[in-house]
């Protein structure tokens, strides 16, 4: 120990509460520390940089990522969602290549057109050919569930993007313009909030039913997206209100940047954190609503099939062929479960103040 310099008060092993264990070792015995212990880390960093040590900078995103990785449930969610997404995208292709079953290929042999259980052949012996069994037309359930995943995830993501587009624009404009316009725009949101929107969506889908699967899908995107933007608008507005009086906005205004450009290039990128969190939580909600609509017969149309439609078709045969409902239903529940955990984890990671709640 160097005796002619003041040293860190106290023993390193008895650290002050409030110093996180992984940061504390950045100051060592012998460092010059004069300030109160709670400022010790910052001072140690400054001193270390004066000494020429390289301190890796931590951005907000890197911090959030580190916190996210510490959350076991969120990591679990991330892994499951990635597996399901990758399997849904590439699975049907791989199954087609290896076994020749397409999601909608009905076997030409009439004896095979029946529903048989997982890991079984029609004569009852064990086989790896259909790990999830087949449906009434003898179609491979695994291929159908994976393809259903494509549709369900697509509806979830695209409808969420639609709601993002509307919600962020609306909220940012209301928040930035402020005053009477803000008041009016938010009153409209309040009124829309109290509408029984699902009832309106059912009426909309029942009345404007499309005959083409693609048309119906587009209608679903619009219907689901246009009812789920309200919370997003409120969140973004709140963020914008707290951002718009900061110096960087003033600077942009002083240099003559136009209002739309200030809103969308300067302010909106700074609201990204909460927006990402809420978007992650919107995806499972939208997927659930889509499944609900598919259950009622207003959702995705044949030959396209989402998890919701597959599970609905399975319900009719629940007593005899339970696997027809259980596999799509459980896959869907697992995915939503994981997405919810991921969203919760993201919220905790990006908003540390909420963490302990």
């Amino acid at each position: 120990m160097n005796d002619d310099k003041p040293t860190i008060p106290g023993d390193l092993d008895k650290r002050e509460p409030g110093l996180t264990p992984d940061l504390a070792p950045t100051y060592r015995e012998g460092d010059l520390i004069h300030t109160a212990p709670e400022f010790a880390i910052a001072d140690a960093d400054v001193l270390a940089s004066e000494r020429g040590d390289v301190i890796p900078g931590t951005s907000l995103w890197r911090d959030a990522w580190r916190r996210l990785l510490k959350n076991k449930l969120a990591v679990f969610g991330m892994i499951v969602v990635s597996i399901v997404a990758i399997a849904s995208i590439f699975g049907p292709m791989i199954i087609k290549k290896t076994t020749g079953f397409a999601p909608d290929s009905i076997p030409s042999d009439a004896k095979l057109i029946k529903s048989y259980p997982p890991f079984k052949t029609p004569d009852g012996s064990f086989s790896w050919l259909h790990p999830m069994g087949t449906d009434n037309q003898g179609r491979d359930m695994l291929a159908r569930v994976l393809q259903g995943g494509q549709i369900s995830l697509m509806v979830g993501i695209i409808a969420t993007l639609v709601s993002l587009l509307i919600g962020v624009t609306y909220g940012a404009v209301a928040g930035y313009l402020g005053g009477r316009i803000d008041n009016l725009m938010m009153r409209v949101v309040d009124i829309l909030y109290s509408l029984p929107y699902i009832i309106l969506v059912i009426v909309l889908l029942a009345m404007f039913r499309r005959n083409t699967p693609m048309g119906q899908l587009l209608l679903l995107f619009v219907a689901l997206g246009s009812v789920s933007w309200l919370t997003m608008a409120r969140i973004v507005r709140g963020q914008v209100l707290s951002l718009k009086n900061q110096e960087f906005v003033l600077a942009a205004r002083a240099t003559g940047v136009s209002t739309p450009r200030i809103i969308f290039r300067h302010i909106v990128p700074n609201t990204l954190g909460p927006v990402i969190v809420y978007a992650t939580l919107t995806i499972p909600t939208v997927m659930l609503t889509e499944a609900f609509l598919s259950f009622l017969g207003f959702g995705v149309q044949a030959p396209l099939a989402s998890w919701g439609t597959l599970a609905t078709n399975g319900i009719q045969n629940i007593g005899i062929f339970p696997w027809q409902m259980v596999f799509p239903g459980v896959t869907m529940a697992l995915t939503l479960f994981s997405l919810n955990f991921l969203g919760d984890g993201l919220r905790d990671a990006l908003d540390p103040q909420m963490r302990k709640l």
Binding site: L73, L195, P196, I199, I202, V203, P284, F292, T312, G329
Partner: protein, 306 residues
Amino acid sequence: MISFIIRRLLITIPTILVVITLTWGLIRLAPGNFYTGEKQIPKAIENNIREKYGLNKPWYVQYGKMMGQVVRLDFGNSLKYEGQSVNQIIGRSLPVSAAIGLSAYGLALIVGIFLGSVAALKQNSKGDYASMALAMLGISIPNFVLGPILVLVFSLSLYWFPPARWYGFPSRGAVLPILTLSALYMAYIARLTRAGMLEVLRSDYIRTARAKGLSERQVVIRHALRGGLLPVVSFTGPALAFLLTGTVVVERIFALPGLGNYFIQASLNRDEPLIIGIVAFIAITLLLMNLLVDIAYGYMDPRIRY
């Protein structure tokens, strides 16, 4: 207080009118109508029908007539169920939906508040994680998947409850629908209670209550729950909306003659008076319930004064 209620009603009434107008507009803007079916009807008959129901009048006359009916709460006769008025159909099917929905919500309140408070009082314990994982599961399983699974286990394997039939209320036939419907709220209420309780348990007034020597039991039940349950109270409004969509599903799975089932049928049949009637009924109930919730909130939270 009175002025608050009046102000709220001033927003509520236009909102109801907006809902009904939107519904009517959607029905009218969509191509086709109740009479366009598989079979083409002769032009003369179609004209007679249009004459009888006033469909040949300009749209604002029809809109005015419809609104007049709504204001008088008399929605006329159903097109599909001939000779039955919309009010009769609602009067017959509402008790079924209300019985299932309210018992499900009651069950969810009891179980959800219990699980949520236990989780909050023992934060980060095994029990906390277990009940929160259970709650997340409840949010993630679609109720039309949960319902058939319950039927598969309790009706088709164990033969405890009938799978799908309405025997009146209360009866064994109502058990599975109530369980299916309550799972989602149970989960939401447990999560809300936990978050609310965690926040309240750290507040100063709880420390004061403890400091003056109240037993833990009294602190939790008399002091913490009152503040910690505020999020649950404000959830009741949206919950009623959920309840509505939930009953639609549950009524279809268990073949119950409730309001939701009629609403879906009416939408598919384009039975305009019935759709308008049910939508109006739902909107009025929902918004009035929201108003009641806001008033209740004011009583529970002493910081709020109108």
